[in-house]
């Protein structure tokens, strides 16, 4: 197989698209990726033949100078021949969160004894099981299961469906999943069938609590919402409206520094904080109505 070539250099996030544009014509694929939160971004190109390094270096030097930036350090190297499919599968090992064992279709071994298997592909719906926001929610759900009976669950912003599936597998009760992204709902429906929870879990596209199904099937004694801090705070009054008296809300997608904002918005609605789960920079809050 003919070797591919890789070009790479680092620039600040705000100008990464500009640099990507000037080198795009030299490569078959161009990508810009965050290296660390709030830090530099990597501009990376993949080419079928050895790219003209001198020309690319000149182009990016000119652009950098015009933006008042130091000249980026360009590397041009052949790419080692790798079986990328196998490599990808190896990079998606099963994830274990408490009793939950989350794996892709490429994992052929049986689910370990005592674990609850969830088959989720890292595809076009958020919620692969890998992110701390998902893991915080799953941990909270499992802990809740030890002490609470739940009869009706809402997973608001369900993505791949992973949280609702977790709840369905623990309590064996009806779960409603809503997501504003219709593609996510399509994928979540496929996932529900794969995980044999399609009789318990109903999934609909819709705009948050305005989705007609939410009112039709509520109130809920457990609401799961792994969204982002600001929308969570904004949606607090609507969450309260659909939460059964004494019901529980598990909120995730917020950074540690956003805990107070989200908690305050819900306290205003009469919910009180029961517990917080911190994983890295992220927090999941458990609140009770």
């Amino acid at each position: 197989m003919q070797p591919m070539w890789r070009i790479a250099f680092q620039v600040p996030e705000a100008v990464a698209p500009l640099f990507a544009e000037v080198v795009e014509s030299h490569v078959a694929a161009i990508s810009t990726f965050e290296l660390e939160e709030g830090g530099m971004w990597l501009v990376e190109g993949t080419a079928h033949q050895e790219p003209d390094g001198t020309r690319i270096a000149t182009k990016i030097a000119v652009l950098a100078a015009s933006l008042g930036l130091p000249e980026p350090d360009l590397t041009v190297k052949p790419l080692a021949p790798i079986d990328w499919v196998t490599q990808t599968y190896l990079s998606f090992p099963p994830v274990r969160v408490g009793r939950f064992f989350i794996h892709g279709s490429h994992h052929k071994k049986p689910v370990p004894k005592g674990c609850i298997g969830l088959q989720i592909e890292a595809a076009m719906a958020f919620g692969s099981g890998e992110h701390a926001t998902t893991q915080g929610c799953l941990t909270a759900i499992e802990d809740l299961h030890k002490s609470r009976k739940v009869r009706n669950v809402l997973d608001m912003g369900c993505g791949s469906g992973i949280l609702g599936f977790g709840a369905a597998r623990l309590w064996h009760v009806p779960v409603l999943g809503i997501d504003i992204d219709p593609v996510s709902i399509e994928i979540a429906r496929e996932n529900a069938v794969l995980n044999k929870v399609h009789t318990e879990v109903s999934l609909f596209p819709g705009n948050g609590y305005d989705a007609p199904e939410v009112g039709r099937r509520g109130p809920y004694d457990l609401i799961l919402a792994n969204i982002l801090a600001r929308p969570l705070a904004r949606m607090a009054p609507r969450l309260r409206q659909h939460l059964a008296p004494g019901g529980t809300a598990v909120l995730s997608g917020l950074l540690r520094r956003q805990e107070n904002m989200v908690e305050a918005a819900h306290r205003k609605q009469g919910l009180r904080l029961i517990r917080r789960y911190r994983l890295g920079d992220w927090t999941a809050l458990v609140l009770r109505g």
Partner: protein, 144 residues
């Protein structure tokens, strides 16, 4: 859910024929994205297009290595070469004769297909851009 964007990948993929070979495999693999899932979803989304037609695609990668993608219309050069019945444009534009010919009807047809991705107010404005592209490739534009 918490869809924090961590990167973008831009490349061209033949409609309905994505596979893990380069550039898809290395481009997605280096960034840890699920190659086979992209291949499956892309081929499903482009199944109704003319198979093999080059489709520019922009993939957005999220913090948990899930992704979404949008497809754009094929490049103007693809449509022009197809309309003119040639494999490639002229390497010596301005120094030799035209390598092919397209009619204004064909240009307007290309313009209407490209309208969604072009910064043009109407089809006539888009057609003017297409004429410019045709000339830069050594393709003659004739009435008809």
């Amino acid at each position: 859910m918490a869809k924090k964007v961590v990167g973008y990948i831009k490349l061209q993929v033949p409609a309905g024929k994505a596979n893990p070979s380069p550039p898809i495999g290395p481009a997605l693999g280096q960034r840890g994205l699920n190659i086979m899932e992209f291949v499956k979803q892309f081929n499903a989304k482009t199944a109704d297009m003319e198979q093999g037609m080059p489709v520019p695609v922009v993939i957005t990668a999220y913090a948990d290595r899930t992704f979404s993608f949008v497809t754009k219309t094929p490049p103007v050069t693809y449509f022009l070469k197809k309309a003119a019945g040639i494999d490639k444009g002229s390497a010596t534009v301005g120094r030799s004769g035209p390598v092919g010919k397209v009619t204004m009807t064909q240009v307007r047809d290309i313009a209407s297909k490209k309208m969604v991705d072009l910064n043009a107010n109407d089809v006539e404005a888009a057609a003017t851009m297409i004429v410019g592209s045709a000339r830069s490739m050594g393709i003659e534009v004739v009435e008809g």
